[in-house]
Symmetry: C2
Subunit: 243 residues, 2 copies
DNA sequence: CAGTGGTCTAGACCACGCA
DNA sequence: GCGTGGTCTAGACCACTGC
């Protein structure tokens, strides 16, 4: 005993595994599917939503429904050590980065508070889009202290930024912290990722501290929720006593 | 220029902030709201879904829509050090735990692989539900090696388990790892949390290693997606070199 | 038992992708 | 320019909540 939606979802799951064997990626049109299952588009779309929330399928705005490729394993502390391009490649993906926007801004109240500086502080605002196998999965906003890293506007923004910070500026990260929240893609981010406004997403806030304890960079990242599995290992030199 | 759904969402957002001032928690019925906004229930529910995905509101199965309380800040490594009850209290919540199920099981292929042991290994399977201010937010499955922790079935399961592991068994955690994925609540978990099957959730896998490197515990946790902000600090003794 | 949320139907129009 | 997905309407029935 189960609902129409659940039965369609199960049936689609079966079809999807068969499709994957065939190497096909795109699902048939909603009208074809709703006809095949003897239901309306509304009910069919409800089943598709469930699969989408599960991360089994995803949609590109007005293009249709696709089978979700395998997830990237993502260690949130990893940006402090390895570049996106490197760890994506290590896991067998073909990564790509594009520069979406480069702006000179000044800190507003929010940025000043979170970066522990004053309102009006000059910042670079760098937006990049990250792809895995040509699928856009990450919208990245970086806010970087312009006074500490002069001339950053003249370098290539599609490579590893942190490598440049080390090589060209001698910068060393002494600490980083982050926050992660499940939320939805805002309009601009959704458009950039070929997704719909309101699609589920993982939002990261990340701050980098240099050796002085100064926050030289604050990132806001939006990931497609189905693109990553966050993984982390907690390894203490001195064993941890429970409680 | 925006859609009907978006306009209703914005209007609801405004109403919600006013409701919050009044201390009210439950939204008016869908029929009342759809009438007030001059639309159908379908469209109204679409707007509610967006707010739900944002974590602004949530629903309890057949009970209606409620304003989401503040999130718990959750450090995924924290279970190795502090109990749920403690860190929830530290953040001003009134936590509660209930034992949902206690079973003796044996490792199947999946559990054997993930716990690095053999199929048929006897395990305790402990399910608990965690509440914040009477709201159920977490469904917790713990699989614990019964051969290493004999007699665990006779202790109170609603307190800190790890404290007991330390005090009664002298157990020390030397390492832990975890994985986190955005997915949906399965049927049983959804029912236990008063949620709907298919509601967005955060799933954690966590493993604890003792000093021998043996995995004595494997946890599967389902959190309501809007109940937590995952936070973590990455603090190296020796500074990290970018790239 | 009244009212609610969960589910479902059978249409419609429009903007956009794609060929 | 056809077909698609995105959006929206105006109903309906049922199971359950809460009184």
């Amino acid at each position: 005993m189960s609902t129409q939606t659940q039965r369609i979802k199960s049936a689609l799951l079966k079809e999807i595994s068969e499709l994957q064997i065939d190497g096909s990626q795109k699902l048939p049109s909603e009208r074809h599917l709703s006809e095949r299952f003897g239901t309306t588009r509304v009910t069919l779309r409800e089943a598709l939503r469930l699969l989408e929330a599960d991360g089994i399928i995803y949609r590109e705005n007005r293009r249709g429904w696709f089978i979700t490729p395998p997830r990237l394993h993502y260690d949130p502390s990893v940006h402090a050590r390895i570049s996106f391009m490197n760890y994506a490649q290590q896991q067998g993906f073909i990564p790509k980065s594009t520069l979406y926007q480069f702006k000179h801004i000044v800190a507003d109240e929010f940025l000043a508070a979170v970066m522990n500086t004053v309102v009006g502080k000059p910042l670079y605002h760098i937006c990049r889009i990250r792809y895995l196998d040509e699928r856009p999965v990450l919208f990245e906003n970086m806010m970087i202290r312009a006074d500490l890293l002069k001339g950053l506007d003249n370098v290539d923004m599609t490579g590893s930024l942190h490598q440049k910070l080390r090589d060209d500026y001698g910068l060393i990260i002494s600490r980083a912290d982050f926050e992660m929240t499940v939320t939805t893609l805002p309009k601009e981010e959704a458009t950039a990722l070929n997704a719909l406004e309101g699609a589920a997403a993982l939002k990261f806030h990340r701050r980098y501290f240099n050796e002085d304890g100064t926050i030289f960079e604050f990132d806001i990242e939006f990931w497609r929720h189905d693109a990553i599995t966050v993984a982390y290992e907690y390894n203490n030199n001195q064993p941890v006593r429970p409680f």
